[in-house]
C-alpha cells in the first residue's frame, strides 16, 4: 500500500483531463478502513485505496461496442469483493474492465457509475 509520501506521485499519475472535485481530493490523504453506517448492507469493510492503475476494456456491451484501449485510472476504495475507480470516461453497468492493481490483475464488472465533476466519473463494481 502506498503511504502519504506518495501523494505527489499519485497526482502526477492521474490523467491530465481527470478533474477531481475537492471532496475527492481529500481522499488521497486518507488510509485505513472507511467509516460505515448503522444499516450498512455491504458484507465486507471498504478501505481507502488511492492508487493509480492501468486499465483496459475486457468486455463491452453488444449495443455499445467501443474500444477504450489502455488508460490510467485512479482507484478510490477497495473491499474484498469490489473496487471504486475514477476516470474521465463514463462506464456502463455490465461492462467488464481489466485492472492492473498493485495487488495483482483484477477483472471488474461495472455495477454503477456516477458523474462527480465535469470530467470525472466514479464507477464501482465487483471483481469477477
Amino acid at each position: 500500500m502506498l503511504d502519504v509520501n506518495h501523494v505527489p506521485e499519485l497526482l502526477a499519475a492521474i490523467p491530465r483531463q481527470l478533474e477531481l472535485p475537492p471532496p475527492l481530493r481529500d481522499f488521497l490523504q486518507k488510509r485505513g478502513p472507511m467509516t460505515t453506517v448503522a444499516n450498512e448492507l455491504r458484507r465486507f469493510p471498504r478501505f481507502y485505496y488511492p492508487v493509480s492503475a492501468r486499465m483496459s476494456s475486457e468486455q463491452t456491451l453488444p449495443a455499445l461496442p467501443r474500444d477504450i484501449g489502455h488508460s490510467v485510472v485512479l482507484t478510490k476504495d477497495l473491499s474484498r469483493t469490489g473496487i471504486a475507480i475514477l476516470h474521465t470516461e463514463q462506464f456502463y453497468p455490465g461492462e467488464v474492465l481489466k485492472l492492473w492493481l498493485p495487488c495483482g490483475e483484477k477483472q471488474l464488472l461495472v455495477v454503477r457509475c456516477k458523474q462527480t465533476a465535469e470530467a470525472c466519473f466514479e464507477a464501482a463494481g465487483f471483481f469477477v
Binding site: P62, A63, Q90
Partner: protein
Amino acid sequence: MWEISLDALDASKSSHVLRIERRVVTSAVCLKSAKPPKPERRYVSIPIATLDPTYCHELDLYQQFGEQEDHRLFRGRDFPLSDDDLEKLRARGVTRLFIRAGEQRAYQSYLRENLSNFVEDESLPATQRFQILNQVTQDCLQETFERGDVSETVEASRDMGRHTVNLMNRTDLVAQDVFSMIKHDFHTFTHSANVCSYSVLLAKGLGIVAPAQLEEIATGALLHDVGKTGIPYELLTKPGGLSDDERELIRSHPTVGFARLCRREKLTWGQLMMVYQHHERMDGKGYPVGVKGDEIHPWGQLCAIVDVFDALTSDRPYHRGQHITEVLSYLERESGRGLDSEMVKCWTSIMSRNC
C-alpha cells in the same frame, strides 16, 4: 345446533362448565371447516369487441345480470359463440362479457395471438382498437413483469410496440383520443403502456416517421421501468415520505433495468438509454449518473418528458393526478432546465392542440 356463543356464557359459571362449552364451540368450528371450499367465483369483464368466434372457442363466456354479482353462462366450450350471438349482443347494447378469473391467462394468450386481427380491423373505430391494444399491452406487461422473465418481457414489448406504432400510423388517432382512453392509475405496467403511446406521439411530433425507428422507441418506452420489477410493490405505492434507503432503492431502478437488458442483442443503444437515462436531467440534477445536456441520449430526453407527464397526470397513492394544463405549465417551467426545451415545446403543442 352445535353453535354456542361464548358471549352468552354467564361469567358466574364454573371453569368446568366453561371448558365443556368451549369444547362444543371447537367441534362446531371443525364441522364447519370440513365442508369443501367454495369454487372460484371471481369474474373478469372483457370487451366483446375482442371476441372472434373463429378463435375464442376455448373460453367459457358469462353474462352479468342486475347490479349484483350474478353471472350466468352465456356460451361455453361445448356451445361456442357465433357471429349471430355477437350481432344480437351488440343490438342489445351489451359491450362486455365475463370470464372466470382463472381463465385470464388463456384469454390473454388468445388476445396476443389474434391481436393483429383486431388492430387491423378497419370495421372497428380507431379508438376502440386502441383501447383493446392498450388493455392487451397492460395485461401482457403485467404477466411478463410479474413472471420476471426478461426475455419474454422484451419479446412481448417488441410485439406490443410494433402493434402500437402500426395502429397509430394507420389511423387518425390524435393526442386527445390517446389521452382520454388510457388509464390514469399507478401500476407500473399501466404507466409503461401509457409512456409507450405518448412516446410514439412525441416522436412523430418531432418528425420521426420511419416505422422501424418508431417501433424501437415504443419498445424502449414499454421497457423503461423494467427495473422496478424488483422493488416491492408496497414501496412503489407508499403514500408517505420515503427514508433515505427507500429513496435510494427506488432510484436504483434505471440502473437495475439497464443491467438486466444490456446484454440483449436485439435492443439498440437508444432503447437502452431510454431505460437508463429517463431520470437524467439536462442540468445534471438527475440520476443515476448525473450527466447533462447532450450527454443524455435524445430518446432518453424524450422518455423523460412523457414519463413526467404521465406520472403527474395519473393518480398515485401519494398524489392525485393533476389537470393536464397544470402539468403542461410545470413542463414549461422545467423546459431548458431539467428537460429539453424543444421537445417540451413540441409536447405542449401536441397536447394543447388536441386536449
